[in-house]
């Protein structure tokens, strides 16, 4: 057990490289959102870590507040690397989001779902492709799945069926300037993919 934990760690160079690649990809995603909504998206430095299934809960709880959240997940796969993108929206974001997206319908469960799907397709798609382009992997995306609406982070974590002990997690926090809109994008790679994606990154570092 201990030996396994030791092999699954990142070197400083690898972490730095993941951060920089993510930084570029999230910038591309933010640019698409900024042009679509005519806003400025605040971009912090992304967090890159090897986490265990139990730490996933902490990662999510850290990002989302005690407020209710809605979440979408979407799988991606390519060149032997697979993972899930998880987008967690703070429910307080929806009224401002509806306004800037010029959404005219009633802001009920269905309306919020539509907004959630629109934003997640932009953010997840651009980010996954941005990372793929840089590590020279072409990712195919699965269908987005709603994990829950108006739920607590606890419920989200329980709804997932985590068959892994430790994996690579990239956390990105997006906020829109001057508006009450914030969300977290979490990229989780499968345990089996870590060696392969590390290899792609090492190739860049060479």
């Amino acid at each position: 057990m201990r030996a396994q934990a030791m092999t699954m760690s990142l070197t400083e160079d690898q972490r730095d490289c993941y951060q920089e690649i993510t930084n570029v990809a999230m910038g591309q995603a933010a640019d698409r959102l900024a042009r679509l909504l005519d806003v400025y998206v605040i971009l912090p430095i992304p967090k890159v870590n090897m986490i265990s299934a139990s730490e996933l809960h902490m990662a999510l709880a850290d990002t989302a507040t005690s407020d209710n959240v809605s979440a979408v997940c979407q799988g991606f796969i390519g060149s032997g690397i697979a993972g899930e993108a998880l987008l967690v929206f703070n429910d307080a974001s929806f009224s401002d989001l509806a306004q800037i997206m010029n959404y005219k319908g009633p802001l009920d469960q269905h309306g919020e779902l539509e907004l959630l799907m629109d934003v997640s397709s932009v953010l997840i798609g651009a980010c996954i492709h941005g990372i793929g382009d840089q590590i020279e992997v072409s990712f195919n995306q699965g269908h987005p799945v709603v994990l829950g609406q108006h739920c607590q982070v606890d419920d989200l974590v329980k709804s997932g069926n985590h068959q892994w002990s430790q994996t690579l997690a990239i956390e990105i926090h997006y906020e829109i300037e001057n508006l009450n809109i914030s969300c977290d994008l979490l990229l989780l790679f499968t345990e089996d993919s870590v060696a392969k994606i590390n290899q792609q990154v090492d190739y860049l570092l060479d």
Binding site: D13, D16, C17, Q19, E20, N23, V24, M26, G27, Q28, A30, D31, A34, R35, Y40, V41, L43, P44, I45, Q134, L204, L205
Partner: protein, 124 residues
């Protein structure tokens, strides 16, 4: 005389990538800085006549570096190399006096194009 060129980025990978994107056989004296404070200090010492500057950095970010350059009237031609490519970011750095804005990841062709455009690299 070799041209003093500064690469200012907090990521060692990004600094390496930027170095690889510099033109071949360019007669320069290259300096690296890993945050804005180090960057400004290097420019003050005359090590950055041409600066390749990242925006998102700890200590002092790229916007802060541009403000310092303007405030102290330092002789630096700044090319912003950024992952944040939103229209607003581009306008902000141009207003702060950056010469050019290039999106990451940068490559050699783009660097040569910009340096040539501003007459820093002469066509030979």
């Amino acid at each position: 005389m070799a041209l003093p060129v500064l690469i200012c980025d907090d990521s060692s990978f990004a600094r390496k990538q930027m170095k690889r994107a510099l033109p071949d056989d360019w007669d320069i004296e290259l300096t690296f800085a890993s945050n804005g404070v180090e960057g400004v200090e290097a420019i003050r010492q005359g090590k950055g006549e041409v600066v390749f500057l990242d925006l998102t950095m700890p200590e002092l970010d790229g916007y802060g570096v541009l403000e310092m350059i303007r405030k102290e009237d330092l002789p630096a031609m700044v090319i912003v190399v950024s992952g944040d490519i939103q229209p607003d970011a581009q306008q902000r750095v141009k207003k702060l006096g950056a010469m050019a804005f290039v999106k990451k990841p940068i490559d050699k062709a783009k660097t040569v194009e910009i340096l040539t455009e501003f007459g820093i690299l002469s066509e030979s």
